[in-house]
Amino acid sequence: MDCEKVSQLEESFLLGELEEAEMKSVKDHLASCLQCRQRLSNYEELLGRMFGAINPVAPAPWLKTATINRVTTLNSPATVTLAPRKSKPSFGYLYGGLAAVVLLGLVIWQFFLLGQVQNLQGQLNQNAQLLNFATSANTASWTMTPPGQPFKPGQPVAKMLAAPGGNFFYVSAAQLPALNAGQVYRVWYRNGNVAVFVGQLSPDQTGNASLKVPDPSAVAIKIKSCFITIEKASSPNTQPSNQPFLEWDEDTSKSATLYNDVID
């Protein structure tokens, strides 16, 4: 490949549009041509600079958990090698009391460690369960947007996820504006004409919030609409008293998106 051909392909190269063989040919040429390499490198720097100036949009918090879980599952589990125990000389009964105290301390420490390991195991199981749940082919998701509006980047959005036969459902929201003192976000779904309270969302400083809700009777998968309202914290959570701030409705939206329709 010569400089002229590379020049013709350079926009496609930058975009990553080239087929593998063409991409390799361009790269081979760049390895030996300083002029072309310099020109393309300058364009990449320009695009990188523009990328650095993009207004960030905070992704939902569960995405970070899912990403890190995917990465950590790539790593082989750490193995611990126990050093062979060395036999120690006996110092007689004078040290018996001290040994008993140390032994007692070790037993207590062991119980403490066991508790820590169980806690950690619980967290890992929970993360794995959430990851399986979010990426399962049968998991349905409902995207809640401002009433009557399609999703737009940078605007508040929330997503409810549920799996058939699942015993919980999960709500994740992003870009939620900060509320006045005494106000809360409440999540609901409709069962017929009745609004059922799901839970309260507490956004962090970046407007992200998530909520995992037990669903022992697996009703979430059948819901016809779900929404989020802004309520007074002191108001009862039996019925919403305000119009939806974000909503998804089967009548006005497409049916719930199945992940396997979207993700390969």
Binding site: G16, F51, G52, P59, A60, R70, T143, G154
Partner: protein, 198 residues
């Protein structure tokens, strides 16, 4: 003052530079990737949301950081900045994913996904474009440089490099030859380079 600066102790992994974080990633420390995620996920996600529908953006966001985890060792600071390298990686992931979905017949074109599912702004008018630039970029210098490009060059740069369109699709959409699109993209990048000197 110099003494104090020299003796400042880095107390947290969050304080590390990008190069230091990448070397930690190469050693297999996932906490370093978490810090990189905290620093860059917002920009990657904003870019992805402009290029694909939200569900795919969520999947690609994970793929991008998985690729960063696997390819951190390929970054060479002597050959360019991290932003340039990382944004190339992000762009290529997007086009790989869209191309793979096209091959599987899930979409007939890249822009079909963008138009029908994501309702992305078409940027057909000068007003749309200007509004888009102000929303997409927070840096006034870059906003200004883009505003100073001729409309057709601005349109092509934003829709291809920051909008998930292939050049071929854009040619069809705007009803102009592919060579014209390529020419305008090249002119646009050259002019932007002049407007945004390093």
């Amino acid at each position: 003052m110099k003494f104090l600066a020299r003796n400042t102790v880095k107390t947290s992994i969050a304080d590390l530079s990008v190069e230091e974080l990448l070397s930690q990633i190469i050693k297999g420390r996932s906490e370093a990737l978490e810090v990189m995620y905290d620093r860059y996920a917002g920009q990657v996600y904003a870019f992805l949301l402009r290029a694909v529908e939200p569900e795919l953006a969520e999947e690609l966001l994970q793929d991008v950081f998985l690729a960063l985890w696997q390819k951190a060792g390929q970054f060479d600071a002597t050959r360019g900045s991290f932003n340039a390298w990382f944004f190339t990686l992000v762009r290529h992931r997007v086009y790989d994913a869209l191309r793979s979905r096209q091959h599987q017949g899930k979409v007939s074109s890249l822009s079909q996904m963008v138009d029908e599912q994501h309702q992305a702004e078409p940027f057909d008018t000068k007003l749309d474009l200007e509004e888009h630039i102000l929303k997409l970029f927070r840096n006034e210098e870059i906003q200004q440089a883009l505003q100073n490009l001729p409309l057709e060059q601005r349109q092509i740069i934003l829709m291809t490099y920051f909008g998930g369109y292939s050049q071929r699709e854009l040619a069809e959409r705007l009803d102009v030859p592919l060579s014209t699109i390529k020419g305008r993209a090249r002119m646009g990048l050259q002019k932007l380079r002049q407007l945004l000197p390093e």
